[in-house]
Amino acid sequence: MNYLLHILIMCEIYIILALAMNLLAGYSGLLSLTQAAFYGIGAYSAALLLTEYKVTFFLAFLGAVGINLIACLPVIWFAIRLRELFFAIATLAWQIIVFAVLYNWTSFTNGPYGITGIPKPKVFGLSFSSLDSFVILGGIITVLVLLFFIGLHRIPLSRYFQGVRDDQLAMMSLGKKITYFKTLSVVISSGVSAIAGVLFATYFSYIDPTSFTLDESILIISIVLIGGLGTIKGSISGALFYVLLPELLRFINIPDAVAANLRMMIYASVLILVVMYRPYGFFGKYRFE
């Protein structure tokens, strides 16, 4: 039972990350390889606020999101004007740099030793330290994030993101400032990724930089590609597929030593097949050209 709850929490975290990534890739057409860095900065911000500065969960939550809104500015500064492939490379660069900072700035982040003893959330006096209560808290947060994105994709603003995705040149000749819309996408995506980071940090009570590597960024983009870009269903299904795949392997009794690699091999194969033969993924409405 506990294991099932653990799976649920991982689903919640990855759904949030997928929704954030989808805004960038699926709605704005930006292939970002730095989502894990945003996720990591969010997790570290929350962890430090909770352990060093001993603020309440609510403030740590807001703080992490707030810090992420600012921490993504360098990406905006150097990457946003770059075209397709080079935007991806620039975000890759940022991902590597952020990881290097998290890993090496030991005085601040404790480097590879990570941060321990992150307290479980306490909101309105209620303590969410038990597994079931955490699942519920995570669930509420996930639903709120989901509602946020459903709303975001109904307002006129979404049209402009998608215009940037579909034809930047046409947007420019219509007099629209594409930099503004790209910036907005990055900022929102970064802020939402922080929320996943907060959940991660308070769930595991321990974080270290190895959870926020380039590999993780690659995983996050794969999730939305396999699930499908440009739809909410796509993001959710992609996240569920990623979290639940190893559980399926469990049923066939694969020895644990082999399981991790096998899982990634299956996952990588699915990614390649999707790219080659089913570019819309499971439920996508948009594909990278």
């Binding site: 006129p156 603003l157 049209r159 998608q162 579909d166 046409a170 219509l174 007099g175 907005l184 948009y286």
Partner: protein, 236 residues
């Protein structure tokens, strides 16, 4: 007179592409610009639309010199252009395409959603009504919700003209509106252009299909090796 092209010359690296081109375009008319490949007609087109600067000469739109203006400033003044391959937003509906083309929608700014959501909602409604009208004007009635990418090539061309109208463009610069479509669609597009002229819009188009374009034009300009031979027709 709405557009005055005055002594426009353009050279690229010593090659004289346009030599002292001058002509007038009057409001509420359709003017066609013909020329072989290499005659400079595309260059001239780009200059009027603001995507290229002339080596010398001026272009006046409603008596305003377009000289230092960028493409989006020119767009602001009421000049709209289409592209050889229709530049539409393939994954968005026809309605979204038309709405995207409008200017200064309060829904473009994030803060407006917090400060003045009511205005956004109102503008959205107003523009949707206009989009519906324009949809009909360009012969795409009933196709508002269709995904633009699913339209036929000709219908996409009509959509791109529609997008110019959403912007209240007064002068429409059309890049080969009849290219790549069948005769039925050519007739449909001609009809739309004539209706636009009827409602007071001005059209300047570049075309290879001389016969059809001449049929609907008030004036025809032939560009040969960078210079103009002009012809004038009076339409009945």
């Amino acid at each position: 007179m709405i557009l005055k092209v005055e002594h426009i010359s353009k050279s690229f690296n010593g090659l004289n592409v346009l030599k002292d081109v001058s002509f007038l375009v009057h409001a509420g008319t359709i003017t066609s610009l013909f020329g072989e490949n290499g005659s400079g007609k595309t260059t001239l087109f780009h200059i009027i639309a603001g995507f290229l600067k002339p080596t010398s000469g001026n272009v006046y739109f409603q008596n305003e010199n377009l000289h230092h203006k960028s493409a989006d400033e020119i767009d602001e003044l009421g000049i709209g252009r289409t592209w050889q391959s229709p530049r539409i937003f393939k994954n968005l509906s026809v309605q979204d395409n038309l709405l995207l083309a409008t200017k200064d929608h309060p829904g473009e700014r994030l803060f407006n959603y917090i400060l003045k959501p009511g205005i956004i909602w109102r503008e959205e409604k107003r523009r949707k009504i206009r989009a519906n009208e324009v949809c009909g004007e360009v012969g795409l009635a009933g196709k508002l919700q269709k995904t633009a990418g699913a339209l036929s090539y000709g219908q996409q061309k009509l959509l791109s003209i529609g997008m110019l109208l959403m912007n209240d463009a007064e002068l429409l610069l059309l890049d080969e509106p009849f290219a790549g479509v069948n005769t039925q669609m050519i007739d449909a597009i001609s009809k739309v252009l004539l209706q636009l002229k009827e409602s007071g819009k001005t059209v300047l188009l570049v075309e290879h299909n001389r016969s059809k374009a001449t049929e609907i034009s008030d004036k025809v300009l032939h560009l040969v090796k960078g210079s103009i031979e002009e012809q004038e027709f009076i339409t009945p």
